[in-house]
């Protein structure tokens, strides 16, 4: 039996998200009290320094965490449904490994002028990551698509092949880089939200809205797809169209996420899994609940990243796993007890 109804879980998460976000506003190198934060948020604060910290540094970062977290978790849920594999995640279609190569390539070749080099306000690394991720996904999709449709199994294999190739390219680039570049590459691969800006928030926000608007349309189709492609077709689902739409949206969502925040692991793989253990695999609830939970996890992880080694910061990606893994293990243990 499930312990929690989907509606109740979503209600809890909807309440929890703003609480965690507000809490996150108060923590960082400079600690700001609840009262000051609330005053500033509701527009009657007189302290401009506090306002600057809250609205120019912390708020964009928190919003970015919310959007990236929700996009990673929902695309994870969608990929697990599409591949009929609860252990799938967006990296399976090559988007992460491709993005990694794009970013490394920019770090190594653009080298010295990386700080200054920018395209409409986005760093070259971001642009490289997005192009790399999107290209790799298109390549994987193309390889798996023939006259009769897209084979999910071939996609899985093509994703592994492209991933291996990208891994090799990455190692090659690392081999030829100096110490400073090497450090940049590995920091980028840990995932970090410290580079948040309002521009990044806007782009990521638009992408997140697009995904949240379009994914629900295919929830029932994803449910049917869990039975198998032929079964889904017999239930009236246009399998090929649904597949193409979901893969393009996922490539876009994860590509932009990786571009603005680097490789933040764990959220896309484990968050949908945790939610599924709690409320079951129905995508009508799984997708929104995963999105909310992913946002909460990333905001919490990023808050911790800001405070554990004050005055320095840890990369966010390290904290998502440290926070999420024990919770997941606890849930698995509880399930074992139930059976």
């Amino acid at each position: 039996m499930r312990h929690l109804s989907a509606g109740r879980l979503i209600a809890i998460l909807v309440i929890l998200l703003p609480v965690v976000a507000l809490l996150s506003m108060t923590v960082g190198t400079v600690s700001i009290s609840w009262m000051d934060t609330l005053h500033a948020v509701f527009g009657n604060s007189s302290n401009t320094q506090i306002e600057t910290i809250l609205f120019e540094i912390r708020l964009p970062r928190i919003l970015l965490a919310i959007f990236v977290g929700s996009v990673l978790a929902t695309t994870g849920a969608v990929m697990q449904g599409l591949f009929r594999n609860p252990l799938a995640d967006p990296s399976l279609i090559g988007v992460s490994s491709g993005a990694s190569v794009g970013a490394s390539l920019m770090i190594v070749t653009a080298g010295g002028f990386i700080q200054g080099g920018a395209l409409v306000g986005l760093s070259l690394v971001s642009v490289g990551a997005f192009i790399g991720g999107f290209t790799a996904t298109l390549l994987v999709y193309r390889l798996a698509t023939s006259g009769v449709g897209t084979s999910v199994t071939t996609m899985l294999l093509a994703g592994i092949a492209i991933g291996a190739l990208a891994g090799a390219l990455n190692s090659l680039l690392s081999y030829f880089s100096d110490n400073d570049m090497l450090r940049q590459i590995s920091l980028w691969q840990m995932g970090n939200l410290s580079g948040a800006s309002w521009l990044k928030v806007t782009i990521m926000g638009l992408v997140a809205m697009l995904l949240m608007g379009l994914f629900p349309r295919d929830s029932k189709a994803l449910n049917a797809l869990l039975l198998g492609e032929s079964e889904a077709r017999h239930l009236g689902v246009n399998v090929q169209r649904v597949k193409r739409r979901l893969i393009v949206l996922t490539a876009l969502g994860v590509g932009v996420s990786v571009a603005v925040a680097g490789l933040v692991g764990f959220v896309g793989l484990i968050m949908p899994h945790i939610i599924r253990l709690m409320i079951g695999p129905d995508h009508r609830w799984l997708i929104p609940a995963s999105g909310l939970a992913g946002a909460i996890l990333l905001v919490a992880a990023d808050s911790l990243a800001r405070v554990v080694v004050i005055p320095a910061e840890l990369p966010t990606g390290i904290l998502t796993a440290i926070l999420g893994a024990p919770f997941f293990v606890a849930l698995l243990l509880q399930q074992r007890k139930d059976v």
Partner: protein, 257 residues
Amino acid sequence: MTMLVSDISLHLSGFDLLRHISLEVEAGKVTAIVGPNGAGKSSLLKVLTGDMSPTKGDVYLNNRVLNQWPLLEKAQMLAVLPQHTLLNFPFTADEVVGLGRIPHQTGIAKDTQIITEALELVDASYLQRRFYTQMSGGEKQRVQLARVLAQIWQPSRFGEQFLVLDEPTSAFDLSHQKLTLDIVRQLAQKGVGVVMVLHDLNLAARCADNLVVIDSGVIAAQGSPEDVLTESLIDRVFGVKSIIAEHPITKRPLVIT
């Protein structure tokens, strides 16, 4: 109104899987397809349900080429139960049966009622809230049967309805085999055309109006079980010596090997 297979052939990777097969599945009748392993039964079902396009010939559903029907309209007329369904996600039984309502817009209340009734019909009410992933093979198959029944629970406004079953009884014990055949007969009485692949000739003889014997990709014989099941045919197709008797109660042919 019928499902019509008109002179189809299927070539795949250099092999002739089906050759010149013509078949008519009437609404309100039960058609059973039998034949040795590898004879092409599954290929025929795949072509019949649109999973594979025939190399030559056409399949018609209610006088219209099968793949020209809009997907949702087709799904309201034709339900298909595969031999195995691999479902690794922990849906409960009523959620699985609920998937059969995806092509319909009848509302939650009506769907819930249909789901309950379908589970009851296949003797699986007790499974309603249990996880599919934790069921036995026979329980899973009954839940899947309930799912396809829920899909064609009410008549469709687009045309006659058809149910295609691939070895529906293979995972069942005696009582559930009988239950399945009773359900199939009931559906036929309600006007649904049923096609099933069966391995057990006696089960096929007991419930089929039309028996189709496939061998090496061609139709070896078709007609009423009484006409089709002869000692020479069984020897020719299956290579097994047998005696054809009459069932003392149903008066249907009984194959004794």
